[in-house]
Amino acid sequence: MTFLNVSLVAGTVFIALPIILHLLLRRRPRRVEFPAIQFVRQRQLPQKRRLRIRHWLLLALRVGLIGLLSLALARPSVIFSGDWVLQEEPVAAALVFDTSVRMEYRHENQTRLEAAKQLATWLLAELPQQSEIAVLSSRAGPVAFEVDRASARERIRRLESSADSQPLPTAISRALELVQQSQQRLREIYIFTDLARSAWPSQSLAQLRPQLEKAFGLSVYLVDVGVPEPKDFGLGGLELPRQILSSRGTLIVQTQVEATGVGGACPVQLELWEEDPKTGQRSWQKREEKLCQLQPGQKEQVVFRLRGLSAGVHQGQVRIVGGDALPANDVRYFTFEVKPPWQLLLVAPDSVHLVPAFVTEALAPREFRLTGQARYDCRLIRQEELSAVDLSQYAALFLLDPQPLEDALWQKLVSYVADGHGLAICLGRNAQPMDSFLTPAAQTLLPAPLQMQVRRPDYDTYLAPADRQHPILGEFRRLSGSVPWDAFPVLCYWQLGELAKGASVIIPYTDGGPALLERVVGKGRVLMITTPLTDHTNQEPWNLLPTGDAWPYLILVNEMAAYLVGAAEQQLNYTVGQTVVMKAEATAGRRSFVITAPDGMTFTAQAEAPANQLVLTPPAVPGNYRVHSGGSPDTGFSVNLPPEHTRLDRLTPEEIDQLLGAKNVRLARSQQEINRHVSLGRVGQELFPFLIGLVACLWGVELLVANRFYKD
């Protein structure tokens, strides 16, 4: 509790007055002579008790009246920390700024960050002398109190928005830890934010709220510098189904245009960074434009398709034409690589049960082959021809329901894979006798030894991908569990022994047995599926994968091929905060790369054998990055902001109360509101009106009692 006029508390000594008057100078009742006193005495005792009670009641009322009046005039306030503090007592204050790119939203010719800085600079001058002040942004970094107010002011001035900002609750937690280390009794945290929902992820909030509730003597002020009704067109996340595609393929770039608080036409165009055919200089070349008609709050999907792309690494951007209040979500960047069509060798024995066309049609449909759009050139040979074929020209090889192989052939395949190629072994009914699959040469290649055929005639066994993080499952990941695997039962498969070193299960069956396995051999990799992909559906098939509306089968086969040729694993597009990992050309020893950032800054990085990977710390600037290396063509990658970082929908005060606790934070929008809340938090809730009301009530009661008591 605090007092505005502490000296007036001394007025409470006047409560002694009524006590003195009552005890010493008590007003004597009027004395009258009355002979018939005997009639009074007989009945006077109960009334005497009542009188005494009234006396004490009156005394209590008068004491209370004077005490309360003195208290009220001293202007007391209740501070909920429970401490007695003075209004000008130094505080430990942490000024936390939301420095996400969303704070670049411009309103009335001022970004939200500029508005926050302006308010913070004013607030800095208002803080009591000797206060400890810390300035924190939502970027990660060390936190400490500033040396003095001037350095705090300078630090505020230098604040800039950044794409790699942490969730705001994390920054608040750091501020909380800092101010709690302070010796000051009053601790304050000012959070300058636009109250965008995306800045308050529920997971971080769940950690913050208990901390706030436990914090003693802490006042938290949310300073809302946001615009109540933001108006903005923005792009969602950019999706490229294929980042590495064949020159025959089509580049698909899709995104969403979202209208927040505004409607109308919104032109979106796709540009590629390439040479101007006229000038020969590299610049943004517009390739396609779409016009979206949006209502406020509406989203529209935009899909760009580009064909006829030359081989090499290409970079581009999708952007909203024309400016708006928030530029950060008006552009998204992308990088893709165009490669010549991959050569695939499909090997299958002669068998009535086997239909290799299932796989060839899945990889290179006839229509695509005829129109020159097929990503793969597939060559199908019989198994006995395999020994005579030069495998080096093929990017990957598919053994479809193979029969037993000779050791020499196994050796040939081991060399082929070890050189960096891909091999898919699709086991089926022809893999017997299985001794050939258990030879040391075969075991060098296979992820696990074959044990026995397992029959599952009840149609209750099917593929059941659990962890969808593997690149092969990337497409299924996008479908998020809506793949009807149960419609494609597996009736028979090969049970395997213990997994070889370096092998792993990518997809299991519902009964737990491994369905698709992977093993890295040398520079290449081997995929093995324990049920065939080519079984004839009319000949007691081992599975029904290629039957009916077999789109999961098509995706699975394509993804297996893409993985084997290396088109699925290379990631060229990242979001801010992700570690960039790029596959470099295999070389002996160390190799240096120069990376040019979107802002023109360059830095170097190195890749070492045998990993031959270029690993870069998470870039903080969105845009297209070029990677140069002597003697090889330039590559690159793109970094984008996560779309949620630029969503402008705001939390309501009720939601803030719900998320942070109504008692834990106070929301302010202007200097006046900050003043009021800070005064309330520092000095407490003024009790004057309440006390004066109580004084009036007591006075009234006292008058009533006294009038009745001393009526003449």
């Binding site: 009027r30 004395r31 002579e33 009355f34 006193i37 005997q38 009639f39 009074v40 009945r43 006077q44």
Partner: protein, 298 residues
Amino acid sequence: MSLVAKYLKPEVVRQIRRLDLRAKFIVRGFFQGLHRSPFHGFSVEFSEHRKYTPGDDPKDIDWIVYAKTDKYYVKKFEAETNITGYLTLDLSRSMAYTYRQEVSKWEYAISLAAALCYLMIQQQDPVGLFAFDEKVRSSLRPKSKRTQLGDVLSLLARLQPTGRTDVAASLTQIAGMLRHASLVMVFSDLLGPLEPILEAFYRLRHRGHDVIVFHILDEAEVRFPFDGLVELEDPETGQLVEVDASDFRPTYLEEIQQFRESLGRECARAKIDYVPLDTSMPFDRALSEYLINRSQRS
């Protein structure tokens, strides 16, 4: 209220300083107010002769009969059928009390006593007087002579109510002093324990005396006109009692009413005339009470 009744009010009578005049004023006013006197026919007429016995007043010897018969005979008059009246006044300090500072209980009592004395002397009734506090302080033998009025009035005028009182003891003492059946008229506020007082009354009755109790209270003692917090002081004992008068009034009125009723009830049972009075009441009530009693006896 008739003009006469108005003049019988204590505050009017109080204007007359001389007690004898006051008595005449009361009595004459009283009789003028009556349309037909219920006391008509009272006269001092010869009734019979009887033999003289020692102790009779020699003045009453009929010397003519002695001359004729040579025997002492005394004349027996109607007056001798009259009762001897004793004015018995309470001299306690409480009798001096007056709330409005107009007529105290004592003044009221002596005015009434004087009026009754006058009335009785007029009718040849012998009148005596006792004044008591804790015991009998003054007394006057009963006589029916006209001079008796002067004696009674001069004694009454001299008396001052000052001390503590013991009504019961005093009445017991008086009962012992009375040899013939008499009319004992008690003028008192009867403040004190009720039981002994009633016993004293019973004792008087037991000895054949007629008793009229003029219970005189002050107007304030009957109405309790106080308000707010007051401290009541007993003038006799100096005892103090603090009460919220406004709050206590109903209780007090109930208590005093109960006291008077119980006194009246007990007196009625003992065939004692109980006349509750207060200093605001006209004197005619008291006079009527006496005359009714006188008429019954005759």
